[in-house]
Symmetry: C2
């Protein structure tokens, strides 16, 4: 089983990758067969690294910063959760999106599943 | 689809039910066929209200309080997430557990799925 501290370190690297504008660092955290649903219920699930890579290239470029809202949580299995805020521009206006990501890891320590929980009401205009 | 504000209100009632020591209020938020996995990866999934009710009777009785760590998040679907802290005694010692719950709702506004993300390393002895 994936260690809790290794998962938390990976999720910290996810945040750091965004904040360092290093999309390769973010993309390298994912397994080749990973699935990304961002936002949950948005109707689109990205499957495989060839779909995930351009998504993160564009996200990392557009996001101003990610800010952790609470300590990263693990679980008794291969899943961990981060509550954070996304600072980004939407329609030319600065917004803060309150988001929680749940990530599941494979035995090699790579993210195989990412679900981002945020809805229209979690967007705050600044 | 379930409204985001209705889901957030239900999750606030979940926290309030614990803090008011009102297990009936907590249990009434769940659908009859709900599933509860607490903690995720713990090896046990409670299925149906007859399994869920005693779990919450005992949890509400033993938990000192729940404290929200960040604003409740919704999604673009019927799921929402809360990051919070559980104040409880473990083996005679007061602890704080950093936890994130993800809840999925049915069309009637009841919780059909609850997953609690916290691991051994999320327990802080006070």
């Amino acid at each position: 089983m994936m260690s809790q501290s290794a998962m938390k370190e990976a999720l910290q690297q996810y945040l750091d990758g965004f904040n360092n504008k290093d999309h390769d660092a973010v993309i390298s955290l994912f397994a080749d067969d990973a699935r990304v649903e961002d936002p949950v219920g948005g109707g689109q699930v990205l499957e495989g690294k060839s779909a995930i890579a351009p998504f993160y290239q564009s996200s990392v470029a557009s996001v101003e910063k990610l800010e952790l809202a609470a300590p990263i949580r693990g679980s008794h299995g291969n899943a961990a959760a981060i509550a954070f805020m996304i600072y980004v521009e939407m329609e030319g206006k600065k917004v803060r999106i309150h988001c929680t990501d749940v990530m599941t890891f494979n035995e090699a320590g790579k993210i195989v599943d990412m679900k981002a929980y945020w809805g229209p009401e979690d967007i705050e205009f600044l």
